[in-house]
């Protein structure tokens, strides 16, 4: 039974598509992410820039809107990890939904949500 269990976990691991990391430039306090950065296989990607201390998770919702969340835990500023069900802090167990709202403590505050605009066939994340 334990061999079957481990095999199932390995299958799950290998079938998870890697998270796309988009390296964006900061211009006029915005990062521009083209629509084409999203593929038919992913509805979220990581936006990265060296000027930022933490990555941004950009999510394309079912209604076509976008949410940009800072991947920093509001408990003790540790980096968050994301999968298809939410954002998680491996350090102390906090979890957040895709609106940045706390689902599980010890974090008490929501994570930072950036305003986004649509302009020139791109998502503009306003820093």
């Amino acid at each position: 039974m334990s061999v079957i269990g481990i095999g199932a976990v390995v299958t799950q691991l290998s079938s998870c598509a890697p998270m796309i990391v988009f390296k964006g430039e900061v211009q006029r306090k915005k990062i521009s992410v083209p629509f084409s950065a999203f593929t038919e296989f992913n509805n979220m990607l990581i936006v990265r820039n060296d000027q930022l201390s933490f990555d941004i998770l950009l999510i394309k919702k079912l209604d076509g809107t976008f949410t940009a969340l800072e991947m920093k835990c509001s408990h003790q500023d540790n980096p968050l990890t994301a999968n298809k069900t939410g954002l998680f802090c491996a350090s102390h167990g906090s979890s957040f939904d895709f609106d940045g709202k706390v689902l599980k403590e010890p974090a008490l505050l929501p994570i930072r949500k950036y305003n986004v605009e649509i302009e020139n066939l791109a998502i503009q994340i306003i820093l």
């Binding site: 976990v9 799950q12 691991l13 998870c16 598509a17 890697p18 998270m19 990391v21 990581i46 990265r48 930022l52 201390s53 933490f54 990555d55 991947m71 509001s74 003790q76 500023d77 540790n78 980096p79 990890t81 994301a82 999968n83 298809k84 069900t85 998680f88 491996a90 350090s91 102390h92 167990g93 979890s95 706390v102 599980k104 403590e105 010890p106 008490l108 505050l109 930072r112 820093l127």
Partner: protein, 401 residues
């Protein structure tokens, strides 16, 4: 002169405002992305009333109050510390009470999703070791498997690398190199708990390595971790005299655990299994007169349901839970070990946890503890008042901010 004094006072005032301690709300709500320094204060604690159903006696205790102080030097380097007071008071000569550092380390952000901790830190082993705030677990007492087998809160001095990989979303890892244990202090029925140094005068001639993989997939949180370390940082002379192997990994302790958590729509499940292997238990017993087994095993499973999750109008949480724990402290004895089944325990824990707001919790639970019989051949360990079955009712409050 008066205007000079006013100007000086204003300058001091403004400087003081810039240097003031920021709460988490200040630093987050301000939407700051460029401020490089911040000092944060937070903490947690719990108090409980406990009634012994058999002895018909009660006690009340401030289990712990912890103060966290952290400082961000810049976007790459931070300092974290936690100081703990257990049992409210430490008075010279009196038993009980403890003031201790739980953490004191410098954190170096290496990449966007990896950081290095250097100092006194908590390795990723088990659930409670890192996730020990009272608002994050059910029951007034931390799970007994994670007190007496995984000796949470277990912290040592060393280096820890923590990170995640984007190649497999949800996968986190940790690797640690810390000082080892002190097998002279291992006690029967308490596993390796008393062999921890916890940052005080640690013998770093014995070393330990730890590692973990933690994976978030769908509604599951799955973790496996291991520890391998020496427990006899002795000189060559003492090693020969006591007949214990020394060196960084001499008289080794092997520790492993696996746990899984599942959360969905108010329902929660936790399961954990752990084992400690002390291959040289016989030699340790010969050297120090302990009664240490070669293998210790434990596991627990808990289910809970948040009754208020049925309502979408509240963020309050009222969870009813039930947990079963099994601690086999004599799983495999050494050739010179003496069985003491009174140290083996099964716990049935049931209760409720109520969070009226995030950060505050009220707990009520009943613990039924069942142990094995005492061994009359163990001199000095038999208690005429010993009972194989004990019941405790506890009521407590906890907080974290």
């Amino acid at each position: 002169m008066r205007y000079k004094l006013l100007f000086l006072g204003a300058f001091i005032g403004i400087s003081s405002i810039k240097a003031q301690i920021l709460t988490k709300e200040d630093s987050l709500a301000a939407g700051i992305i460029s401020r490089n320094t911040a000092t944060v204060i937070s903490g947690y604690g719990s108090v409980k009333y406990k009634y012994d159903v058999n002895r018909k006696l009660a006690e009340a205790n401030v289990d712990r109050v912890i103060l966290f102080v952290g400082h961000k030097f810049n976007n790459k380097i931070s300092f974290f510390s936690e100081i703990e007071v257990e049992d409210a008071k430490v008075a010279g000569g009196e038993a009980g009470g403890e003031i201790a550092l739980e953490q004191a380390f410098i954190k170096f952000n290496l990449t966007k999703n990896a950081y290095l901790s250097a100092g006194l830190f908590i390795p990723r082993i088990g659930i409670i070791n890192e996730n020990h705030l009272p608002t994050t677990f059910n029951g007034n007492d931390r799970p007994f498997v994670e007190r007496f087998i995984i000796p949470a809160t277990w912290r040592e001095i060393g280096l820890g690398l923590f990170g995640s990989t984007n190649k497999i979303p949800g996968l986190n890892y940790s690797i640690g190199l810390v000082n080892g244990l002190n097998s002279e202090e291992f006690q029967s029925g308490r596993g390796i708990r008393d062999g921890r140094y916890e940052g005080r005068d640690a013998n770093a001639s014995a070393l330990a390595v730890t590692g973990s993989l933690l994976y978030y997939i769908k509604n599951f949180r799955i973790q496996a971790s291991a520890y391998y370390g020496g427990s006899a940082g002795l000189s060559d002379l003492d090693s020969d005299t006591l007949k214990l192997s020394n060196g960084p990994f001499g008289t080794p302790v092997l520790f492993y655990e696996a746990n899984v958590q599942y959360t969905n729509k108010g329902f929660s499940f936790k399961g954990l299994f752990t084992s400690v292997q002390i291959a040289d238990a016989e030699k340790i017993n010969n050297a120090y007169g302990n009664n240490i087994p070669e293998t210790i095993m434990g596991y627990y499973a808990e289910v809970g349901f948040n009754l208020l999750s049925l309502s979408k109008k509240t963020e309050k949480n009222l969870t009813v839970f039930a947990r079963y724990e099994n601690l086999d402290m004599n799983n495999k004895l050494s050739p010179n070990g003496i069985v003491d089944k009174s140290k083996n325990s099964a716990y049935f824990v049931g209760g409720i946890s109520f969070l009226p707001i995030k950060g505050v919790i009220v707990k009520a639970d009943y613990v039924l503890q069942q142990t094995g019989a005492q061994n009359p051949n163990l001199l000095g360990t038999t208690d005429p008042n010993f009972k194989k079955e004990k019941g405790f009712f506890s009521l407590g409050v906890g907080y974290s901010f």
